[in-house]
């Protein structure tokens, strides 16, 4: 297999699973290894871009209703024959878009009401509400008991004197007296299958690249350091993935997993470079 064949395989098959011939060629060809490393890095970076989600159906309904109401679009007209229509049919045609808009608007209002009725209690029960008005009213003592693992602010910070020391020119909300405590949110988001899939694909791409890394670099100290760091990254990635499995919506863990995947891509690229330069 030659370089152009490997390129064709990469174009057609992607990075998921390379045939044996391509792997054999990669083990001997510096250029193709470089290409694979670059593509892997690009794939990892691309996975970081959040995927677009289709808007809910109600958005389309609302949009269509509005366009129809404004006369921008119309329902497809059925071409009738030469037979004269009764006089009330003309009135019905005139009223159809408005009636449709009213009915749709009614459905939307109803759907919106049902939606908020179902979701409001959950939001109210989360940390979002407790950290805003409730926090302002909360006493310092109760705040202290809620965050035992972290050093607490001194109660003096809540005094009027200290609040008055706040610099002028800054917009301050009503909750000025909120203590500088640690806010521990307990909100759990629903799993995002697309995000989990993208992390899984990124990790799979990197595992593929990891298998393509040549063994036996001359500079043993460098190889030992690189292997050690690769092991560190793999452990950290596994930890993050396990945490995300339990708490899929955790943004901080996602950020650290992204960071680790990107570092792994760069490390693998460096390992390929190191192996190539020493041979």
């Amino acid at each position: 297999m030659e370089c152009k064949d490997v390129e064709a395989v990469l174009e057609q098959e992607g990075l998921s699973l390379l045939p044996v011939e391509a792997r054999e060629h990669l083990s001997d060809c510096e250029t193709c290894r470089d290409l694979l490393a670059d593509l892997s890095a690009i794939a990892v970076a691309a996975k970081r871009i959040p995927s677009e989600e289709n808007p809910p159906e109600r958005v389309w309904v609302s949009l269509r209703t509005q366009l129809e109401a404004e006369g921008v679009i119309r329902e497809p007209q059925v071409i009738v024959g030469p037979k004269a229509a009764p006089w009330w049919s003309g009135l019905a045609q005139l009223l159809r878009p408005r009636a449709l808009a009213m009915v749709s608007a009614g459905i939307l209002v109803l759907a919106g009401g049902v939606y908020f009725a179902n979701h409001s209690p959950k939001i109210g029960g989360s940390a979002v509400t407790t950290t805003q008005p409730a926090t302002a009213a909360r006493s310092v003592e109760s705040a202290k008991t809620e965050t035992p693992a972290v050093a607490q602010p001194n109660a003096e910070t809540l005094s009027a004197e200290n609040v008055a020391k706040k610099p002028a020119g800054r917009t301050v909300s009503a909750g000025v007296n909120k203590p500088s405590q640690i806010h521990e949110s307990t909100t759990k988001l629903k799993p995002s299958p697309s995000e989990l899939a993208s992390f899984g694909e990124s990790a799979a791409v990197l595992d593929q690249a990891e298998r393509a890394v040549p063994n036996g670099v001359n500079n043993q100290a460098v190889e030992a350091a690189l292997r050690e760091n690769l092991r560190t990254l793999n452990e950290f990635i596994a930890e993050c993935k396990a945490r995300l499995k339990d708490n899929p919506g955790d943004q901080l863990t996602q950020e650290y997993l992204n960071m680790a995947l990107q570092q792994k891509a760069e490390l693998l690229s460096a390992m390929m470079d190191s192996g190539r330069s020493e041979h």
Binding site: V150, P153, N162, R170, Q181, H183, N219, E228, D250
Partner: protein
């Protein structure tokens, strides 16, 4: 009998001389040799040093419009090539020894560079220290396992290591550090922008916070410590998923209430505080490491 003793003694002497000669030849063959090259420049030079083998790189500055490259390596083991095109100087050190059993010191190339005060640098080595002192200009410094020490440098500095650590003293400008297991210490510095990221290393920031400056420090498993003075001005956000946030100066750090912090849902423990007018922005995070916010005594 006496003649026999004489013969044995002579043989021993001859053998000793042979061994000595062999050792001398071996030592001569394995000893490092130094060479010095001078490159005259007219403006702000760009110096690229790509050290594929192990070795230390030291860069210091002077007021002359000349770049001096002093290298030390074992002949026959390492090839050092230097090229100048205008004000661009490229130096490359590669290993000539293909034997996997080569001793580490035999595949070393150590460099001492003297450059004009305003110089752009791109340095890369494997396991040796990179030391840059009193140089102003953009820099990209890469190392696998070697540490990076910067003293009184300025410009846009990018440091990337796998396990090497960064110690930056008296630095200004923009600093970007990315490492897997290396740590970072920023001491007595006043960068306008800072981005430190390490997966398992520790981070210590003991510098100034410039007005409108952006300071981001992230460590996966390591400790992140931020030290500040009473006269500093910044907004600080600290978040950790499994670690702890230790605010050791609650009496001076006011709660930051001017922005909406609570809209982002996460499992993280977070702290939002303000010092002074909040001119700079400081964002600190860790995955499982501790975060410590400390005020200096002075």
């Amino acid at each position: 009998m006496e003649r026999r003793k004489m013969g044995v003694r002579g043989g021993v002497y001859a053998l000793g001389a042979l061994v000595f000669l062999g050792c001398a030849i071996t030592a001569a063959a394995g000893s490092a040799e130094s060479q010095e090259k001078h490159f005259t420049v007219t403006g702000k030079p760009v110096v690229t040093l790509n050290n594929i083998v192990n070795g230390r790189i030291e860069v210091k500055s002077w007021k002359n419009s000349e770049v001096v490259v002093n290298s030390t390596a074992v002949p026959g083991k390492v090839s050092i090539e230097a090229e100048q095109v205008g004000d661009r100087i490229e130096i490359t050190a590669t290993s000539l020894d293909e034997a996997a059993s080569a001793q580490p010191h035999e595949v070393e190339a150590n460099f001492q560079l003297i450059v004009p005060e305003e110089t752009e640098l791109q340095l890369r080595t494997q396991t040796g220290l990179i030391l840059v002192e009193q140089v102003s200009g953009d820099m990209k410094l890469q190392s696998v396992a070697g540490d990076v020490h910067l003293k009184e440098v300025s410009g846009y500095v990018i440091v990337k290591t796998a396990s090497g650590s960064l110690v930056c003293t008296g630095c200004t400008g923009k600093l970007d550090f990315n490492s897997i297991s290396g740590s970072a210490q920023i001491l007595q510095s006043s960068p306008t922008s800072l981005n430190l990221m390490t997966t398992t290393g520790n981070i210590l920031y003991d510098g100034e916070f410039r007005r409108m400056g952006l300071y981001t420090m992230n460590s996966g498993r390591g400790l992140v410590e931020v030290r500040f003075s009473r006269g500093d001005s910044f907004d600080l956000k600290a978040s950790t998923y499994r670690g702890t946030v230790d605010n050791q100066a609650p009496e001076v750090l006011q709660p930051d209430t001017h922005t909406r912090h609570h809209s982002v849902s996460s499992m993280a423990k977070s702290l939002w505080v303000t010092m002074g007018q909040g001119s700079a922005r400081v964002e600190v995070s860790s995955y499982s490491g501790a975060i410590r916010i400390v005020m200096r005594n002075n």
